[in-house]
Assembly symmetry: C2
Homo-oligomer: 321 residues x 2
């Protein structure tokens, strides 16, 4: 023990003021400089779900919410240990393996997103999947961050074998020539993009309605307002349920806490608020696990009532399935 | 559009009552049946930290806390969306790359833990490290789930090139023959295990005291009570700080919310409560990010005051470093 104490003293004396640990290094370890692959598996009964991150977009916080003071927005973000100048909006898609059938709910940004997005395909492959295995792609709505992964800038779709399901109201709105021509200049790009993605397959898409079991285990839920036909889903297997909230919130840290706040992306603000409250109440009353497209990876949790508002409690990461 | 609608109707009709999606599958996707590798990188200034999970131990909730009613314990767990019959206690060690020097804070269960632990080495390697690269192992305290990874059942240590630092009070307690012989029967195994791990290197360990910068960037903090010499750490680089809380709590979901509760593993319950409050208050007043050995992976977050108690707000998973 005396020897050990002397070693400590010598060590401490040597190291004060030095920038490295002397005599410690045998093989200098390189920095990793890249994060772990962004996929996370979880079970919904017999269904194997996989959260796949497509990275994030960074936006100035100012101007993001239409009906709140910036100081109040920052106060809510601070409750979630998040930076308060710029907002990171994460993208998390869901893959469902239902009896060996591979179903995607939305496809991420593809190669047309913000600089910190675009990692979807790498993470999807890291999870052990390949795009040819995808049997079905279900779209929640037609914003670019949900559909651009289906068709790359080159015009090619990675999902050669997949059928496509789209909300009927969403399809009717965005594919209507009158809506396109009457839309404000700022929205014409979004209309054009929907056509870029879907025109090559427009005779093959399968439209679906709200409130139907659109495939076994997946029931669509009307969550209109964010876009005209925006859908959420109840995924169930046996007695297990999971609610895919889609864009019920544009960031859980903000709009779960303050469902009455309106994001610039909600096309019908009042309808979106109504849908948001409906979905959050459903999550509370069902006690179901939920996931959000725009929540920090892996984006799963439960909604609890917290006084007059709500909170998202993340599901503890499980190392086993 | 009429064609699409007919397709939907046909599809729905076909699928009701069937267990798979007819005509969808081109290549049956296998279930993954295993979780993503359990490592997560984050920066503390110039230091690259990596959380490595060693899985978890599952315990009956009953009897885990000495001074609380089971119904109250379950109520707190339900706030964290956790099961309420058995408790999963996660193990998350921290790797610090400080200027190319690879430092471990504790080593996990090795091959002597519970059935759902023991994944540490696989996750460590998946993160791109190998055990020969480890320059230094710093132990927080001498419970088996922190030290057994240092020496496998075979007697071999995977960390051939690593120096070893241990808390001086911890060393004095567990290595003292009088303490060993006077200890109750139920603790003799723990004493024997400490000697199994450290006897082969007992002339080489470097002892350290509380409240010292034991290597550049890592300052030890006295957090006694859980064990006699139990240590936490302040890791700092430039103006960035991160507090490694070690076993300040035995599960964040319980003891951050209720720091006055006493776990069966706290050797001096009153001292442990005092240390717990001190560490939680420090985390609040410093505003520093924290990590806990026994928090759900990746075990990082911030401590906020929540009325008369505390809450751990997990750090949003970042897809970039």
């Amino acid at each position: 023990m005396q020897i050990a104490r002397r070693s400590l003293i010598g060590l401490a004396a040597t190291m004060v003021g030095s920038s490295a640990l002397p005599n410690f290094s045998k093989a200098k370890a390189p920095l990793s400089n890249a994060q772990n692959a962004g996929f996370y598996h979880y079970k919904i009964g017999d269904i194997e779900a996989t959260a796949i991150t497509d990275g994030f977009a960074e936006r100035p916080l100012a101007g993001f919410i239409k009906n709140a003071e910036l100081v109040d927005v920052k106060a809510v973000l601070s409750q979630s240990a998040m930076p308060q100048e710029t907002l990171r909006i994460p993208f998390t898609t869901t893959v469902l393996n239902i009896g060996g059938q591979l179903v995607l709910i939305d496809t991420g940004n593809g190669d047309m997103g913000s600089p910190k997005s675009g990692s979807w395909m790498a993470n999807f492959k890291a999870a052990g999947f390949n795009p040819e295995q995808v049997d079905l792609v279900i779209f929640s709505h037609f914003h670019g961050d949900h559909i651009n992964g289906y068709r790359l800038q080159s015009g090619v779709s990675p999902f050669k074998n997949a059928q496509i399901m789209v909300p009927s109201i969403e399809w009717a709105f965005w594919m209507d020539d009158g809506q396109f021509s009457r839309s404000p200049e700022g929205m014409k790009g979004a209309f054009a993009n929907v056509r870029r993605v879907f025109d090559p397959v427009k005779d093959k898409v399968i439209q679906y309605e709200a409130g139907k079991e659109i495939v076994p285990g997946i029931t669509s839920i009307a969550a209109f307002g964010h876009t005209p036909g925006h859908m959420a889903y109840m995924v169930s297997s046996g007695s297990n349920k999971h609610i895919l909230m889609s864009d019920t919130t544009n960031h859980t840290a903000l709009f779960v806490r303050r469902p009455e706040w309106t994001v610039i992306f909600d096309m019908d603000a009042e309808q979106a608020i109504t849908s948001r409250r409906k979905m959050l109440d459903m999550a509370v009353s069902d006690g179901a696990e939920v996931s959000f497209y725009h929540a920090p990876f892996p984006a799963t949790g439960r909604i609890v009532k917290d006084g007059s508002t709500y909170a998202l409690v993340p599901t503890p990461w499980s190392t086993v399935l």
